[in-house]
Structures are given as C-alpha cells and as structure tokens.
Symmetry: C2
Subunit: 328 residues, 2 copies
C-alpha cells in the first residue's frame, strides 16, 4: 500500500508527528498506529501481506510542511520561488530523519519487505538549486543528476539494509533505468509501458539479465478504466512471456495489480477493483495450462462475482447479468 | 428509464404476466406495479419526472418467451433457425397486443411523455423471413425495409396517440434517419456520433429544419468511461451550438444524460453517475453566461460532491481531494 503521496501525508508518526499534523488533508484523515495494526491484522487473517511504500525522493510534497529543510527549495534565477522538489540529497540531517522514520515504519509493518519507491524523480528543481549544484561539484558529479539520485538511493538502501528488522526492499524501475547502482538483492518493480508489451518485455529482459529479481505491474493497472470488457487483457498477460534464459525467468517473482487513487476512494474502491482484480489473481496463482482461455474463465469469473456479492462486497458487473443471491 | 432490454423483461404486466414470468432474469428481479409507483413517487417528491421507454420493434428479445408470435422468426434458407428478430410487423395480433400493453403502461406512468424507442432495428432477420417478404410484396414495398419499419412505427404511433391518456412521445433518431414518416409533434432524440460533434450538430440541423422538436444526448453518455478528468467535455457541450435559424433552435427542448447498464448495476450506479451528471444538470439548467468556464465550475463541483457525500450518496471523486464531512 502507498500510504502517502504528494497530496497528503496521513501516516501518523510518533517520532515526527508534524508530518501528518501539517501534511494530512485534515486531522481526521489519517492512519494512526492502531489503524495500521488493524489493516495488517485484517489482511493477515485472510492470508494477505501488507507492504508499505514510502516513496522517496520524489512524491514527497506533503512531507514538506511538517519537516522543514527536508525538501529541495526550487529556485527561479537566484532566489527560491516558494515551491519544493524532491528530498534534498545534499543534507546529512535528512538521512538522520530517514533513519529514524524507517526504523519506526519497519517496526509498525511486520512484513519482511518495504517498497522504497524511487519513481518519477523530477530533476528540474535539483537543477535550479545552487546548493545542490555546489554539492554535486564537491563530490565530482556535476551535471549528472542520475548520479545524484544514486547518491540518495544508495544511502537510503544502506539505512534500510542496516535496520534492526533487516528488511528486504523493492524499488520502481526508474532506479534501475537511471543506472543507479543498487544491491544485488533489490527487487525491481517494472510498471511502465502499459500499452506496449514489447517494451515491458524488453525491460524484464534487461532487469533479469542484470541479475535482479523483479515484479511486473505494467499490464495490470486497473485504474486505467475504459468502456467495455477490459479483463481479457489482464488475463492474457504473462510475466514469463519475454525473451530470456530459464535462470532469468526464475528471477520474475510474479506480478502486482495496481489500483491508484487519483479517481478512486472509498466510494468506488470495491466496485472498481473487483471482480477485475480476481482475473490477475487466477492468472498468477494457477498453472498456465489452466489459465490460457478467457472463454473458459468467463463462467468462473461470473460465478465468483456472485459469490462476492453474496458475501456483501459490491463488486461491479462484467456484462449484463444477474446473481440469484442478489435480491432486495 | 429503460425498463427492459434484450436481456431481461422485468416489467410485471397485469395483462401479460408471462412477459416477466418468462422473460425476466428471475421471479425476484422484476418491477411490480408497486415498485413503479414507488420510483415515480420518490422522483416526484424531488421534482423529477419519470418517462418509461418501451423500445420497439428492436431490443425486444426478452419479450419473445412470454408472447409467442410477437417476434419475427429468423430463417436460415427455407427453415426457421430458432432465433428471433424484431417484432413481426406483418401480424395484426401484434398491434392488438401493443394497444393493450401501452394502455396499461401509460396508466401506470403518469408522465405526459412516453419513449417509443425505434433505435438499432436490425433488418437482417426481416430479410430472411418469407412471410415478411410476402407481406411486403402485398403492400407494394418489396425490398424497402425502412418502409417496413415505417409501417410498424406509424401503427404504433397511431395506437399511442389515441390512448385515453393522449400521451406525447419520443423516438430515437434512427426513426427520422430512416425516413419514417412521423407525426409533427414527435420528439426526435439525437444520440449518435458521441465523438464527432460536427455529425450530431448536422443531425440537430436536419431534425429541426424538418420541423421536429428534439432532445440531445450524443455528448452526455456517462457510461463511456475513461481514465482522467472527463467532465470538461460534458460541460463544454452546448445543444444550441449548431448551424440553424432561431426558430430551429427553439425546437431544441434540451438534453438528456445517459447511464446505460451494460457495465453498471446497483453496485456502481451512484458512484459512476455522480457527480459527473451534475455537470450536465448545471449546463442545461443555468444560463450560458454562467456555464462557460470549467475552471469556475470546478470549485462548485467539488463542493457539490462533498454535499452529496454528506447526504449519504457515495459519489466518486473527481481528483485527489477530501471532504471535511467525510470522516469515519
């Protein structure tokens, strides 16, 4: 789960309460420690693991008000323009902050893995800031902002690797694409090129030929809604279907379907996620010989939708149909 | 409201109970007289009129089991193939049936108007049936299936016009497009060419220059979902924005937004219809000088969404945001 984004920081930290005090939508729109425990336990009883993502150094606009000095001030000419970019990688204080925060977070989420993000880092603010420029000159990476990202990610990974909980971690594919040197046991999360299978297949080849484990999401962005029957494409996506050796294919741990929240909240989360996400579940958890026909899957999916409705989940229809148990 | 379609006939008729007994999804998935009354009264108290659509001669597959002889048997070569097409316009019995049914329906729905449909009439089944061929020869319209549609629609309109309730009526644009002669007071419902404004503008011109009143839906098909902010296009659609004289423009009665049920039922009806339908309401009910800016409409729409949530309607978000009153 992505527990925050640019718009809001709802995670209530004991160590840094101002992050949510000043960064959440409102004091009521937060996840307190007991809320996190409730979600984790609810999931555990259903055989589901909850991995938090604390995405840095980008996607952190909402962290700014509660932790002055954390974000990079963007400049217009020779003065700050009042806006902020990614976490400032030049300041030692910020790594102390991250060490304390991630110690708390990994204590609160029991899973072995944590997702460190690293996607969509916008270099333009870093480029505008003279302190960043000076810092880069000092460490001999002038002009190479991917290297600057690498400095940050390397230190973050070092912090997370040495936590008492010894977490494993995932990063989005940009960390790999930007040439950041990452530890061998990093899991690279492939997510781009939704409509260009040849491109994500190439990415899987590149990531696994470099020896990294990987998880695929590119073909399972459920939030990209469209009119009509859209589940066939989810069912026909196979994370093993790329050019690579057997040992490369063994590095593909599986897939993850995504439901992003730009246009989704409690009002439409269940109906929009299900039953379409069930398609991905069957594809990933059943052997390929039983999951190669959408026409054979159709009656199973219809039946499963009715089962979900009967259990009280308001999941959307796949086509004009009805469920016997769904009566008023 | 469309009260039935090819898939199911849920309207419970006193005169023809077999229509729903044999044509509904199940005996529980029906609208009885008291259900219809409840819907009409619920709407009336909110200033909303409920117009039923009983779409004929197409879209009637579900009528077949409960009313043998009503639909046209489709032929393969010289024998019926077991499938059925539109209502059989060659049989006098069928008009008696329609007279009885529409007398009942217009008694049950108090609104002055009824929608008679007439869209998407598939001629291929009529073309295959030798009795239809004979009938057309007898009345000298051999080969002209639009004329056959006209025979049907003319008789239907004659029936409806002479009901005790003296209803007014709407038809979908195909009835006009196919050259069917229709009475002067018919309202032609323009719905095609969603993504081709030049085409529906041309249609509005044609319909009004022929002297018919019209209602526009082309630009307001809310069921055609897509990812992202889609309400701007609804807000920017203006049913007066076509080439025509002032008197033509006065024939445009307004617009209707549509939410079709192929992928929508009780699980996602509210969240998918609202607040996007509010955009159409403001556009059609407010003067054009106040509805020409999506940026000015945005805060009103955000506030209105929160108002709907506060009143218990789970309407979907328009963008990452929150409502103060929406707290758990």
């Amino acid at each position: 789960m992505i527990i925050y984004d640019d718009q809001s920081f709802p995670y209530v930290s004991d160590a840094f309460p101002d992050l949510s005090n000043m960064g959440s939508y409102s004091p009521s729109h937060v996840y307190r420690a007991k809320d996190v425990s409730a979600v984790v336990e609810y999931a555990r009883l259903r055989g589901i693991r909850v991995l938090p993502e604390f995405d840095t150094p980008g996607h952190t606009e909402s962290w700014g008000p509660g932790q002055p000095g954390l974000l990079t001030p963007c400049y217009k000419g020779s003065s700050p323009d009042g806006t902020f970019g990614p976490i400032d990688p030049s300041k030692d204080n910020n790594y102390d902050f991250l060490q304390t925060l991630f110690t708390e977070v990994t204590g609160r989420f029991p899973d072995h893995y944590i997702h460190l993000g690293g996607d969509e880092v916008n270099f333009s603010c870093w480029k505008s800031n003279p302190n960043i420029t000076d810092f880069m000159a000092k460490i001999n990476i002038t002009g190479d902002y991917s290297k600057l990202e690498q400095v940050y990610i390397t230190k973050l990974v070092d912090i997370v690797s040495n936590l008492p909980t010894k977490n494993g971690y995932l990063v989005w594919q940009e960390v790999f694409d930007n040439g950041v040197e990452i530890a061998n046991d990093t899991i690279v999360h492939v997510w781009k090129y939704e409509n260009v299978p040849v491109a994500w297949k190439h990415e899987l080849n590149q990531v696994t030929s470099a020896g990294y484990k990987t998880v695929l999401s590119s073909c399972w962005y459920l939030n990209y809604i469209s009119y009509g029957v859209d589940w066939h494409k989810y069912y026909e996506c196979d994370p093993q279907d790329f050019h690579g050796t057997d040992s490369q294919k063994q590095l593909v741990m599986g897939g993850e379907t995504c439901m992003w929240g730009e246009y989704v909240d409690r009002t439409n989360l269940i109906s929009r996620t299900w039953p379409r996400a069930s398609v991905v579940a069957e594809k990933l958890w059943s052997s390929s010989e039983h999951t190669n026909s959408t026409s054979e899957a159709t009656p199973r999916l219809e039946e499963h939708r009715c089962r979900l409705l009967a259990r009280g989940y308001d999941v959307e229809p796949l086509w004009p149909s009805f469920c016997s148990a769904d009566v008023y």
